[in-house]
């Protein structure tokens, strides 16, 4: 074992592994050093300088986020001198930040605002010079307001290094430095896949979700409209963070109740759609595996950020993609057909709102003609978890105390397999449960496939189904996808046996629980807790396999007919196209 580093921080002895930053070491001894550019989820860039500390031995002031603790260091983190420097950093940052807190989406949820409050930044001798830069709303998913950017570089790190999308970069230098889409064009024309990780990591209001809450409120007020709603798996274990619930608390019942209070006439659950996706996708897998109806490996397609990424960067993989729509699109299509028919409602009046952990879903709902398979746009508006939390607050609902309610079961009852869609590996696990049943005619003796769980960037595993070895891979965080696809390409070109039969990809680290539309502050610790909330529900549930969902069975027998049949194909499946990497 390597020698541990011993030092003192504010006189308190601390022992850490070599390489530990002063910032992290300080946390160990309960010292909180303020940070601004550093996000606990990302590598330090040392851009802002607010985390400086003083090394008594040398008298130097160093940035604690990117300086490893050295043997024998005597660190001071809070002296009048240090506080003065930090105030200087803040004053300079605020001098080119617009004073628009009251009208900013990040009001009361902004890291710069919080620091300004902590440091009592009430006056300044510096003039407020805000660069005159236009708002970029071109994606209708993510809004870029470069005026509010403090140049911390988090969005760039996550977009370039973690997602390998390279849609964002700094342009110019010095005082003119600004954040912009690659090549200084509208974000919608850049390689951006709308995953929203930039917005989830932004400390200020420089990158936020495209807010559509007003459109939803207006529809809820419209006596002609019949508003229905659905919530994604990952929303239920994250929205509570906005109301002080412990991280990972599953608040499904409260969410249903709140949505009814808001005026939604039916409350559905995307978990139902997830179960339905599994019925179709596991069937697709089975027929590709046993009957050779398509190429293997089959690759999941329920993540719109990943679909966009594949269409832009990996067009040669289109044939491998599952033709299944994502779960919320399935629920949308069925809301305006099956549900409308059964309830005797004019589908033209139905307004479907999806509440998703995701910014990319906002683009997905208009991505192709198949997203209007009901004859109308299947999903009318897709809101993020963050927008939903604001709506609850606006509506005067006491979310903490409101009693649980049930969903409208027709498109709302679900199994544990549907719930775990919200975590990386969940789609694979759910699919394996049902694929096993399809191939063998009986359920696996144990339906927990742990090899798919956890936060390893690429997870691989194999299982034996009726004497056949099935090899699977699960990747999350788009930068991790490449290595999996390269393996497939290499084997394909060499004419060798394929490395995998089935691949799951989620654009965001941790899967949807770490989605770009989720509450701020995602770290692996937090992703793990949110995922745990989903796995607990799965474990405790009555039904754990999608094919056990009685409402799914009813849907097929009453409306859809055969699994993978004509009607299912028209409503539940879609197609893909190769997109130019950069539009001109």
């Amino acid at each position: 074992m390597t020698d541990m580093i011993n030092a003192t921080i504010n006189g308190v002895p601390v022992e850490v592994a070599p390489g530990t930053t002063i910032l992290d070491a300080a946390r160990k001894v309960h010292v909180k050093i303020p940070t601004l550019c550093k996000h606990p989820d990302l590598e330090a860039t040392g851009a802002c300088g607010i985390c400086i500390v003083k090394v008594q031995n040398t008298g130097k002031m160093l940035r604690s986020c990117c300086t490893p603790l050295d043997e024998g260091m005597d660190i001071l983190t809070e002296t009048p001198e240090i506080v003065e420097v930090r105030r200087g950093v803040l004053e300079l940052t605020l001098s080119r930040h617009p004073n628009e807190c009251l009208t900013c989406l990040r009001n009361q949820n902004c890291e710069l605002q919080a620091l300004a409050a902590d440091f009592g930044m009430t006056t300044s001798d510096l003039p407020n010079i805000v660069p005159d830069l236009p708002l970029d709303t071109s994606t209708k998913s993510i809004v870029l307001d470069p005026r509010k950017c403090i140049l911390c570089g988090r969005c760039i790190t996550v977009c370039q290094q973690h997602q390998n999308v390279w849609a964002l970069s700094f342009l110019n230098r010095g005082f003119k430095t600004r954040i912009a889409a690659a090549g200084d064009i509208p974000l919608a024309d850049s390689p951006c896949v709308r995953c929203g990780q930039c917005s989830a990591h932004c400390p200020t209001g420089a990158i936020v979700e495209y807010d559509e809450t007003v459109a939803v409120w207006n529809k809820l007020q419209d006596p002609e409209a019949y508003c229905v709603v659905q919530i994604a798996p990952a929303v239920r274990v994250a929205v509570g963070e906005a109301f002080g619930f412990p991280i990972g608390a599953n608040l499904t019942g409260k969410i249903y109740a709140s949505l009814r209070r808001m005026g939604f006439k039916a409350v559905f659950d995307t978990n139902f759609g997830a179960d339905l996706t599994i019925m179709e996708e596991a069937s697709e897998f089975k027929s590709r595996l046993l009957e050779g109806t398509g190429v293997l490996p089959l690759i999941t397609s329920c993540c719109p950020g990943w679909v966009d990424f594949m269409e832009k960067f990996h067009g040669d993989m289109i044939d491998h993609f599952s033709s299944c729509k994502s779960p919320h699109e399935m629920v949308g299509a069925l809301s305006k057909t099956y549900y409308a028919e059964k309830m005797g409602i004019d589908p033209a009046k139905i307004f479907v709102v999806s509440i998703m952990p995701c910014t990319a879903k906002k683009s997905e709902i208009i991505r192709s003609k198949e997203m209007s398979s009901s004859g109308y746009q299947d999903v009318d508006v897709s809101l993020t978890t963050r927008e939903f939390a604001r709506m609850i607050k606006q509506s005067g609902i006491d979310f903490v105390t409101i009693p649980d309610e049930q969903p409208d079961h027709m498109l709302g009852a679900y199994t544990g397999a549907g719930t775990i869609f919200g975590a990386t590996g969940g789609v694979m696990e759910a699919a394996l449960r049902t694929a096993h049943y399809y191939v063998t005619g009986h359920d696996a003796p144990r339906v927990d496939f742990e090899m798919t769980r956890g936060l390893e960037g690429v997870k691989e595993g194999k299982l034996n189904v009726a004497g056949k070895e099935i090899r699977v891979a699960v990747a999350h965080g788009l930068a991790n996808v490449e290595q999996v696809l390269e393996k497939v390409r290499a084997a394909r070109e060499a004419g060798e046996e394929l490395p995998y039969h089935f691949i799951e990809v989620m654009a965001c680290a941790g899967g949807c629980v770490g989605g770009g539309g989720q509450p701020y502050g995602a770290t692996n610790e937090l992703r793990t807790k949110r995922a745990a909330g989903l796995y607990q529900e799965d474990q405790a549930g009555l039904w754990r396999c999608s094919h056990h969902n009685p409402y799914i069975k009813e849907l097929y027998s009453e409306f859809l007919g055969e699994i993978g049949g004509h009607k299912a194909h028209d409503l539940l499946h879609t197609g893909y196209q190769v997109l130019p990497e950069y539009k001109r």
Binding site: Q160, W166, A167, L168, S169, F170, L171, N172, R173, A180, A182, G183, D184, I185, P191, E581, Y582, R584
Partner: protein, 179 residues
Amino acid sequence: MSEDTALDDVEVEEAPEDEIVVLAQKWKKKRGSLIMALHELQGRLGYVPRESAMKLGREMGIPLANIYEVLTFYNYFKLESPGKYIISVCTGTACHIKGSPKLLHGIENELGIKEGESTPDGEYHLQGVRCLGCCGLAPLASVNGKVYGKQDVTDAHGLLENVKRDEPMHVAAESDDAE
């Protein structure tokens, strides 16, 4: 070929694309050579158009985001065309022998600018370039990718008039000559 087909129009516009491939091959293997490649590109075109930067990025395996970080960091690089008409007078060997320096000076006098400069109204940018690859038409200039060949080096004014009327050389005229 029909009378109004501009000579070499297509080829001349494609030439920079191929050139970018060559450029990328040349610099690809050397670490940190993006700036050098961009220098060459700008030297050739007078600025770095978006399309060329994208093509270079693809050929060199560098994301456009990175290229623009470099392009906008240094004042030297231009993203916009320096003028409405970019006049490139060929100073390659064949054109030189046929008197292209005289043509260049003539244009300088006509426009009141030096080689490498733009007119204050942003209409013209004048540059000398090395061989444009059509020595048979020497002495020649290219303006926004269109070729004005077999110029009278004493008549810079006439050349500029043709540029304004967007009347480059015509293939038919050329082939008549050949006959």
